[in-house]
């Protein structure tokens, strides 16, 4: 540090604005910005452009890692590729077999539900996105992916990998978007325990290998190994996508709630590519959005229906339990 140059700036005190004044101005500006940003509105647009402007630098910063991956990939030996190919082929065969059965099951299910027409697929279309930047620390578990508003990505879109649910988009920029992972401490996902059908909420812990289920009572029927599926509530994920597997259940005698940890099925730590998914709103399994306690989206048959006209209502004939005691109350007896 330039200790010896200390005298140089002493004369400079008298020029320019006083630091106290400019600090006050900047502090007020910052607070106004924060309030506006929380409110939403035009600052959302400003941020959209700012993050668009920041994207080139983010790309440049992540380019060494990308270049490394690229060289690694292009230098993979022939044997490795062949081995990979064999694995993929086996996997493909296995999946095709499963899909064959799945088609039949889907038709059977539709028939059981009394739906004549074949159901549309839940997933309408999907798009692969490359991971540009990964932020995995105790405070934030986020990804930056290289698809944005120009590719039709919207806020609150489901993001998956080949194994399960990854998270959802939180902020969409022109060419990139930020994905909040299910393990982010600020993320919570409505889930259903596959074995019992119990609904609960899985909350991120900040650890990429663990989710917490803090709202189940101490006597809840949960076992390690239980699969957690999305419950279709919350408006982001359709029902029935795998999220996590229960890893640990602890019943503490003094705690009214069980302490449950689950391991996400998606491979959060080694991510290079993710899948952004668009869902069919008309499918019964599509996510339900609750707006002012009114369900919108999802299955139309399960939403609030207009009340039928009164005269069409078949009035049930309730048998009277006690016979009418007096003639006055029974008009037929007059």
């Amino acid at each position: 540090m330039a200790v010896y140059g200390a005298g140089n700036y002493r004369a400079s005190q008298g020029r320019g604005t006083a630091p106290g004044f400019s600090f006050t101005v900047y502090a007020i500006l910052a607070i106004v910005l924060m309030v506006l940003d929380r409110r939403g509105g035009w600052l959302v647009q400003a941020r959209y452009f700012l993050s668009g402007a920041a994207y080139p630098l983010q790309l440049a910063v992540s380019s060494p890692a990308q270049a490394w991956h690229w060289t690694e990939e292009s230098l993979t030996a022939r044997e490795t590729l062949q081995a990979q190919n064999a694995v993929l082929r086996a996997r493909d065969r296995e999946l095709s077999l499963k899909v064959m059965r799945f088609e039949a099951l889907a038709r059977e299910n539709a028939e059981l539900r009394g739906l004549r027409d074949a159901l549309p697929a839940v997933a309408d279309h999907w798009m692969a996105a490359e991971v540009v930047d990964v932020e995995l620390n105790g405070l934030r578990q986020r990804l930056l992916v290289n698809r944005g508003a120009h590719n039709g990505v919207y806020r609150g879109q489901a993001v998956m990998d080949n194994y399960g649910v990854l998270g959802q988009t939180t902020r969409v920029s022109p060419w990139s978007s930020e994905v909040i992972l299910v393990t982010d401490p600020e993320h919570a996902i409505p889930v259903e325990i596959e074995r019992t059908g119990v609904h609960t909420i899985a909350v991120g812990t900040g650890d990429p290998d663990s989710l917490a289920l803090p709202y189940l009572p101490g006597n809840a029927d949960v076992k390690p190994g239980d699969l957690l599926l999305t419950s279709g509530l919350g408006g982001v994920f359709p029902q029935g996508y795998p999220v996590a597997r229960i890893a640990e259940v602890r019943h503490d005698a003094v705690q009214p709630l069980a302490q449950i940890r689950a391991t996400p099925l998606a491979h959060l730590a080694a991510l290079r590519e993710v899948t952004l998914v668009w869902f069919q709103d008309t499918n019964p399994a599509a996510p339900t959005r609750l707006k002012n306690a009114e369900a919108t989206g999802g299955n139309p048959a399960l939403q609030r229906q207009p009340a039928p006209p009164l005269d069409l209502l078949p009035l049930p004939a309730f048998p009277r339990l006690t016979p009418a005691p007096a003639a006055a109350s029974a008009p037929g007896a007059r």
């Binding site: 540090m1 330039a2 200790v3 140059g5 200390a6 140089n8 700036y9 002493r10 400079s12 020029r15 320019g16 630091p19 106290g20 400019s22 600090f23 900047y26 502090a27 500006l29 910052a30 607070i31 106004v32 910005l33 924060m34 506006l36 940003d37 929380r38 600052l43 400003a46 941020r47 700012l50 993050s51 920041a54 630098l57 983010q58 440049a60 910063v61 992540s62 890692a65 930047d133 990964v134 932020e135 995995l136 620390n137 105790g138 405070l139 986020r142 939180t170 902020r171 930020e178 401490p185 600020e186 900040g206 990429p208």
Partner: protein, 159 residues
């Protein structure tokens, strides 16, 4: 002396951009947890060594850049960084005369104050993050301060 102030504005911008890149560079999680706040340290250096070259405005706009890159509430880092820059600019003559060890201690205090402002705003905006990891960078920042000043002194052309 005025000439030096003039030519340092280019250097200030250069160091600030480098520090921003270091701050947002993707790192493995264990390393990212102890990553010092390079941009904050750089802004602190300039506000002590050459308060006219940047000053509180520099702190504010660097903070805003951090907000954009981190996806924080716009103005959060800006307010915190402007606040500690203000103290540094006001007391720059005293801090400058301190030996490196005491300066590092002052930086520890400043970084804790900075993180505390972020923590408070996080709480007010409804997502309190109470993970103790968030305070770790203040320690590493204070440790790296003597080296950071040595590098930045060279960039500035002192010595």
């Amino acid at each position: 002396m005025i000439e030096r102030t003039q030519d340092s504005i280019g250097r200030v911008l250069l160091t600030v951009v480098v520090a921003l890149v270091l701050s947002v560079l993707p790192l493995p999680p264990w390393l990212a947890a102890v990553r010092p706040a390079f941009l904050v340290l750089t802004v602190m250096y300039w506000s002590i060594a050459a308060p006219r070259a940047g000053g509180i405005g520099l702190g504010f706009f660097c903070g805003l850049a951090l907000d954009v890159f981190r996806g924080a509430v716009l103005g959060q880092n800006a307010l915190a960084l402007a606040a500690i820059t203000y103290v540094a600019v006001r007391e720059h003559q005293k801090i400058r005369l301190k030996p490196a060890f005491q300066q590092a201690l002052i930086m520890l205090g400043a970084l804790i104050a900075y993180e505390f402002i972020l923590f408070a705003i996080d709480g007010w905006t409804g997502h309190p993050i109470t993970n103790p990891q968030r305070w770790l960078h203040a320690l590493t920042g204070a440790l790296i301060w003597p080296f950071a000043t040595a590098v930045l002194d060279r960039v500035r052309g002192v010595r």
